[in-house]
């Protein structure tokens, strides 16, 4: 009886993961090597056409631009998220809970709705323009919406918790006595940060960057709502190829770029973890 239940459980779980986790990715990789067909999405002929189209300078430019936007987003998330996580980790247990709940509420709120809300703030007659005019920084409304800045602002807005949470989990565990010891030995704040806090927090930094950088490139609706009709993110390209241009091989090949970036980042994360682990053993 018990072993039958056990087999059933293992069978169900593994078949779900293989059927809907592993197989789809293999099919996706396969599709990227097929020929394009305007009617049937793709033709079952082996071809490298998709990768040739991918290497087209105009297409590559969009990908590079998306990488740039995601890099800026990751950078700003880190710059805001790091002090946030550090300060939160140093709070009393009660205030910590409050801050974390306050952080989670927007995170649980529909992200499309929040992007739309950002759009209302940035509009020509939105809050930000009105505010800037009132304090006399600008004379007339300036165009905030449909710029790269707006897209970055929206991406940071959505991705910030993904940076803060792994950083917080890491910094919370940091042994504060190390900081005190360093201070007693006469280290400056900058030294303490550079030599102790930052190296120990690297796993958190990497985890946060991985969770922000690649997913940010997929958020096509942010680019559509805040960046206008231009193709800004890799997500827009993929959506375009799958839903409008019906060039599935090219769409798949584009997504392979994302998968490769993801793999690269996860590998370097693994290397950082290993390096930190060996460092601890050393006397």
């Amino acid at each position: 009886m018990k072993s039958r239940t056990r087999q059933l459980v293992i069978g169900l779980v593994s078949s779900w993961l293989i059927l809907f986790g592993v197989l789809p990715i293999l099919l996706l990789v396969g599709t990227s090597f097929l020929a394009q067909d305007p009617i049937e999405f793709m033709r079952y002929d082996i071809s490298l056409d998709a990768y040739r189209q991918l290497a087209d300078p105009a297409y590559l430019e969009v990908i590079l631009r998306s990488v740039k936007l995601a890099a800026f987003t990751t950078f700003f998330c880190l710059v805001i998220g790091y002090p946030f996580a550090w300060l939160t980790a140093r709070l009393s247990k009660k205030s910590r809970t409050v801050v974390l709940i306050l952080l989670m509420i927007p995170f649980w709120t529909n992200s499309l709705v929040r992007t739309y809300a950002i759009r209302m703030v940035l509009g020509t007659q939105g809050l930000l323009n009105t505010l800037l005019m009132k304090i006399g920084l600008i004379d007339g409304p300036i165009r905030l919406l449909y710029t790269d800045t707006a897209v970055i602002l929206g991406l940071v807005y959505l991705m910030l918790p993904f940076m803060i949470l792994p950083l917080y989990a890491n910094l919370e565990k940091l042994d504060y006595r190390l900081v005190e010891a360093a201070r007693d030995l006469g280290a400056s704040y900058i030294q303490i940060f550079r030599k102790i806090i930052w190296p120990l927090s690297l796993p958190g930094v990497f985890a946060g960057c991985i969770l922000v950088f690649v997913p940010a490139m997929g958020l096509f609706y942010v680019a559509t709502l805040l960046g206008g009709a231009r193709q800004l993110l890799v997500g827009n390209l993929i959506q375009q190829q799958f839903l409008n241009a019906r060039n599935w091989p090219l769409g798949s090949a584009t997504s392979i770029v994302l998968i490769l970036m993801m793999t690269l980042m996860l590998t370097s994360y693994g290397l950082v973890l290993r390096r930190l682990a060996t460092r601890k053993v050393r006397p």
């Binding site: 009886m1 789809p24 805001i80 709705v113 807005y157 096509f220 993929i238």
Partner: protein, 260 residues
Amino acid sequence: MKNLRLFFFLGIFSYLYLPIAILIVNAFNSNRYGLKWDGFTLKWFKTMAANDGLMEAAQHSLAIAVCAATFATLIGALAAIAFNRYRFPGRRILQGTLMTLMMAPDIILAISLLVLFVAIGISLGFWSLLIAHITFCLPFTMVTVSARIQGFDPFLLDAARDLGASERQLLYRVVLPILRPALFSSWLLSFTLSLDDVIVSSFVTGPAYDVLPLKIFSMVKVGVKPEVNALATIMVVLSLVLVLLSHLFIKEKENNECAG
């Protein structure tokens, strides 16, 4: 230093909350474009309720969210038990697959499932959407339940067995009560993730089965829609309730640990 910290938190939280606050205020604002306050009104809520397409999409979304949350919690809990309690070939690989699913961008999951559905001939609609939503919720429920399983004392099971509990009693009297808080928070998290999703849904559903985020997306793409503000307000309140509920369960979990 303390003031600086306060200012920093205030700054970040106003960045996070101001847009949402403006949205809610505008849901009750007579002015269609929300440019200035023209007095309190509930007419946008009425417009929203009169929009049949929107209401139908909301029903679809709720149905998918409830089903996806239930199945994802169930399968996720089974996966957590299998990974933590059983040793079987391929366990590490499957666990790695789950983690990759969690880290991978939604859009990869979306198009890979789309390719699968087309390849094996599942038509795009309720079932494809449900399968996709269960799949992206699964890693989160697995991790949540796993954390709970790793936290509990395996000797409890031995003790219950020594006292003569049957396998069924063991499940209902020991395992389920211990896992309950984790199951509740998994369910709530999956429910929210499912309602929140735009990317996966926009690829794996068909025209016959429109869901709320897609409907909202097509409405706001063209301009300001005050009934969207009304709907968004309801959604914000809903997520507020869900966060508080899930927090209560975490509290209960901690209390249990203190008692045990």
